[in-house]
Amino acid sequence: MFVRTALLVLRKDVAIELKSREILYTTLLFALSCVLIFSIAFVKQGEPLEDAAAGILWIAIEFAGTLALGRTFERERYAETLRALLLAPSSRAAIYVGKVLGILALLAVVEVLLVPLVALLFHAPLFSAPLLLVGLLATGTVGFGAVGALFAAMLVRARSRDVMLPILLYPITIPVMIAGVRGTAALLQDPPDAATVTMWIAILAAFDVVFVTLSLWTFEPVMTE
């Protein structure tokens, strides 16, 4: 039942998104312009700053993710569909998981665009160890998406929610960002420092466990009026 509800929420979000493709396109364009601006700022005469690629990849993911989170829940606020969802006789946690899955799917698409773009513009050998890169991106995105979906959902009813989302989300997800950036920087070394990358993936996984548990735990009381 739990899994079915979560998948239903995910299917609903995907169906709406496939119809308009609004959030997907705006997020992709935002991520693209973000990386372009960074490449103008940090690539001089074809030579990027050392380790810039790792930081910029994660900053772009975090910024684009914040934008997508805000838009996703803005859509739910419109016509009070979030209230309808919460009124449904199903587990709140399942609804939360469905929303998180939607965000993760969206961010995965964004990352598919971002990774080659950063690799190209910053001459970064991101594909030297593809499995480790996928591990870093997956664990990092889960940590960010889990907290992000919780806070974006809570902010639906709050005043000045556009400003509040980054103010809340960034301090909490700084540890995830640090682990992601450091892990990617280790990956970009020649040859890739697999031991260090695996350590950061383990740390990210630990953050994921803490964040997902806390989010599942707090979603119910926080969304109850």
Binding site: L155, I172, P175, V222
Partner: protein
């Protein structure tokens, strides 16, 4: 706590006034010289900051699940004190670091995690002030997440090799420094309690005033 406030306030005032004497009497550390005296306020402020963050998180969790308004007031007061003691820690640290490490600041794990914890407390206050209706629950959830950060702050020096002294420093202080250190720790903890009591009382009166206004309008 209200009846204990005045005696507690007097005790804290006396202890604070006597603290410099205690610190001056502490064993003189040769390698660091006078700068080592910062430790007597820096480390206890850090302890109080972490305790305050935990109090804020636990009170917020209780508020979320038990809906006890007293817990909300406690969380609010504790968050403000987390910010205050955080400023003390982050302010006194660089004064010592400049002498010990040769730099004011370094983004090593302990310092980074402390700043993150402090930022979370600041954003809690922002939410409470600007997020409007429902901000109490929003803040409570944020505080619960912030508390998850506390063990990382405490253990960061033991997990990673960092510049910052490890947690084993305090239990292994030389005998001449132990007395003044725990004296200062006690002083700052009592100071925290006094400020907490005063802040909760203020918050309670504010809530009562709000209710009176509402009753008047009805």
């Amino acid at each position: 706590m209200r009846k204990a406030f005045m005696p507690l306030l007097i005790v804290v005032a006396v202890l604070l006034a006597y603290a410099p004497v205690m610190i001056a009497q502490g064993a003189f550390e040769q390698s660091m010289g006078l700068v080592s005296k910062i430790m007597y306020f820096h480390a206890p402020s850090g302890m109080v900051m972490l305790v305050s963050a935990i109090v804020c998180g636990v009170a917020s969790a209780l508020y979320l699940w038990r809906k006890n308004p007293a817990m909300d007031r406690l969380a609010m007061a504790s968050a403000e004190l987390t910010v205050l003691f955080g400023v003390l820690v982050i302010g006194t640290g660089p004064l010592w670091a400049k002498k010990a490490w040769g730099i004011w600041w370094d983004w090593e794990p302990r310092l980074t995690m402390t700043v993150v914890g402090w930022l979370i407390a600041v954003s809690y206050l922002f939410v409470r002030k600007y997020a409007g209706p429902g901000s109490d629950k929003l803040g409570a959830a944020l505080a619960v997440f912030g508390t998850a950060n506390v063990p990382f702050i405490y253990l960061s020096v033991n997990i990673w090799r960092t510049l910052h002294p490890k947690t084993t420093v305090v239990p292994t202080l030389p005998p001449g420094m132990r007395g003044p250190f725990w004296f200062c720790a006690l002083t700052l903890f009592l100071l925290y309690l006094v400020l907490l009591t005063a802040r909760i009382h203020l918050e309670r009166q504010q809530n009562a005033l709000d209710e009176l206004y509402l009753a008047l309008e009805d």
